[in-house]
C-alpha cells in the first residue's frame, strides 16, 4: 500500500518552514551533485546524517529505502572498476580492478546516498499537499502545482481501485507466470484502470464546476517564518559555504 512513511512526526525538522526545507534541499543536492573531492563529499554525507538525526526518523525504515535506491549504484560497482583504465589494484582472474575506477564508484556511492538522505530528511518529512503549497509560494507555475496536488489527491484512490481489480483476478484463480495470458491480463487491468480514472476525472471535474471551479485553485495556506527558521537558515547557509570551501579551496 502507498503511504507517506516519513511525512508526519514531531521534530525540529518537521517544524521548520517547508519553503526553507525545499530551498535548502535543492541547494544542498545541487552542490553535492557537482562535488569531486572526498573531504567535501564526506562532509555532505555528514550533513545529511545530521539532518536525518534531527528529523528523528525510524532508522530501520530509512535504511530500507536506501537499500532499494542503491540498485543502480550496485550495477555501477559491478562494471566500472573493471573497465576503467588506471592503476591496477585488484586482480580476479582476467579482471583487473583499477584504483581510479574504485575511487569513482566510491564517490558516486557517497554522493548518491548523501543526496537521498537529505531528500528524506528535508522533503519527505512533509505531506505532499504541504509541498504543493510551498512550491506555490516559491512561484512555480500554477498549473504544475495544481497537477501535483490533483495527482497526489488521487493516487491513493486509484491504488485502492487497482487492489480491487487485483482481488477480482485472484478470486478467478489468476496465477501470474511468464506467458502471454499473464501479460494480456495485466494489460487489461491497466487499461481498465485508465478507463475508470478517466470516468472518475469527468465526474470530479463536473463536481468541481458545480462548486464554482473556474480553472484556478486558491491557496489558503500561509506560512510563517519563525525565529527558529532564521537560526536554521543561517546554520544551513554556513554549512553550504563550508561545503563549497572544502571543494574549491586551494589545497595547502
Amino acid at each position: 500500500m502507498l503511504s507517506e512513511t516519513f511525512a508526519f512526526g514531531d521534530s525540529a525538522i518537521h517544524r521548520l518552514d517547508p519553503r526553507l526545507r525545499v530551498v535548502f534541499a535543492g541547494l544542498l543536492s545541487i552542490l553535492t551533485a557537482i562535488l569531486n573531492r572526498f573531504p567535501a563529499v564526506i562532509f555532505a554525507v555528514f550533513l545529511a546524517l545530521v539532518l536525518i538525526g534531527a528529523s528523528r526518523l525510524p532508522v530501520r525504515q530509512v535504511l530500507a529505502r536506501l537499500a532499494v535506491v542503491n540498485g543502480l549504484v550496485l550495477f555501477i560497482w559491478l562494471i566500472l572498476p573493471w573497465t576503467f583504465e588506471g592503476t591496477p589494484v585488484v586482480e580476479i582472474g582476467p579482471l583487473v580492478g583499477s584504483w581510479e575506477g574504485i575511487r569513482l564508484c566510491a564517490l558516486i556511492t557517497l554522493k548518491s546516498n548523501a543526496i537521498i538522505l537529505a531528500l528524506i530528511a528535508l522533503v519527505a518529512t512533509m505531506p505532499v499537499a504541504t509541498l504543493g503549497y510551498a512550491l506555490h509560494h516559491l512561484h512555480l507555475p500554477d498549473k504544475l502545482v495544481y497537477l501535483l496536488l490533483m495527482t497526489y489527491r488521487y493516487i491513493f484512490v486509484i491504488e485502492t481501485e487497482y487492489q480491487q481489480l487485483a482481488r477480482a483476478t485472484r478470486i478467478r484463480c489468476f496465477k501470474p507466470g511468464t506467458n502471454l495470458h499473464t501479460y494480456k491480463t495485466y494489460a487489461y487491468m491497466v487499461g481498465m484502470l485508465f478507463v475508470r480514472a478517466s470516468a472518475r476525472a469527468q465526474r470530479v471535474h463536473q463536481a468541481m464546476v458545480c462548486r464554482g471551479f473556474s480553472g484556478k485553485f486558491y491557496c489558503l495556506h500561509e506560512f510563517a517564518f519563525k525565529s527558529s527558521d532564521w537560526a536554521w537558515s543561517s546554520a544551513m547557509g554556513i554549512s553550504l559555504i563550508v561545503l563549497g570551501g572544502l571543494e574549491w579551496a586551494p589545497i595547502v
Binding site: E4, T32, I34, I76, T83, T151, T178, T182, Y183, A201
Partner: protein, 199 residues
C-alpha cells in the same frame, strides 16, 4: 528507468534540466486549466500502474508505460511524468532533485516521440493498430534506454560499458512493454476509443 543521484556530471544535469523545463512549458501551455483534473487523475493512474510488477521467469519487472502515456496525453506527458517522478522521489526516494530533469527527459521524451510516430497507426484497422501499439511500447523503452545511455556517456567515457549493459538489460523489458502496450491499446479501442484521441 532512473539514473540515480550523484552519478551524472554537472553539464549533463543542467542540460537535462533545461530540456525538461522546455518540455514541461510546452506541455503546460497545451494543457487547458479545465483539463487539469483529467490530466491529474490519469497521472495518478499511470503512477499506480507503474508500481505493478509483472513476472519474467524467476524475476519480475515493474511496468514503465511511457508509450501509452504518450499516446493518451501527447505533450502533456512532460508535466504528467515530471509530477509522477516528484511523487516517486518523495514517497519512495526513487531519484531525487538533481536528476529530476534528466529523468523527465528519459521518460517523457520517448512518450512524445511515440505520440507523433504511432498515433496515425492506432487509428487504423486492427492488425495495423496492434503492430503500431507494440512498436510504440517497444520504441518508448528503447529510446528511454538510449537517452539514459547517452547521459552516462556524456558524463564520462568510462561509462561506455555501463551504458551498453543498461541498454542490453532492458531488451526483455522492451518486448514486454510492447506486448502490454499492444493489449492495452486493443482494450482501450474496444472499451473507450475516445481516450486515444485526446492529446
Amino acid at each position: 528507468m532512473h539514473i540515480s543521484e550523484g552519478v551524472l556530471s554537472a553539464p549533463v544535469l543542467a542540460g537535462g534540466a533545461a530540456f525538461a523545463v522546455a518540455g514541461i512549458a510546452v506541455g503546460l501551455k497545451k494543457l487547458d486549466n479545465n483539463r487539469i483534473p483529467q490530466a491529474g487523475i490519469l497521472a495518478a493512474a499511470f503512477f499506480v500502474a507503474s508500481l505493478v510488477h509483472v513476472p519474467i521467469g524467476p524475476s519480475s519487472m515493474h511496468l514503465i508505460l511511457n508509450g501509452i502515456v504518450g499516446l493518451l496525453m501527447g505533450w502533456a506527458a512532460f508535466p504528467v511524468i515530471a509530477v509522477a517522478l516528484v511523487l516517486q522521489a518523495i514517497l519512495f526516494q526513487f531519484g531525487g532533485i538533481t536528476s529530476l530533469g534528466v529523468n523527465t527527459i528519459i521518460m517523457a521524451g520517448p512518450a512524445v516521440l511515440g505520440y507523433y510516430l504511432f498515433t496515425p497507426f492506432i487509428a487504423r484497422g486492427h492488425t495495423t493498430a496492434m503492430a503500431g501499439a507494440f512498436a510504440c511500447g517497444f520504441t518508448a523503452v528503447l529510446v528511454s534506454a538510449l537517452i539514459a545511455a547517452a547521459a552516462l556517456m556524456l558524463t564520462g567515457e568510462a561509462f561506455l560499458e555501463v551504458s551498453a549493459a543498461l541498454v542490453a538489460a532492458h531488451i526483455v523489458v522492451m518486448i514486454i512493454e510492447g506486448i502490454i502496450t499492444m493489449f492495452c491499446v486493443a482494450f482501450l479501442k474496444k472499451v473507450q476509443p475516445s481516450m486515444l484521441s485526446i492529446g
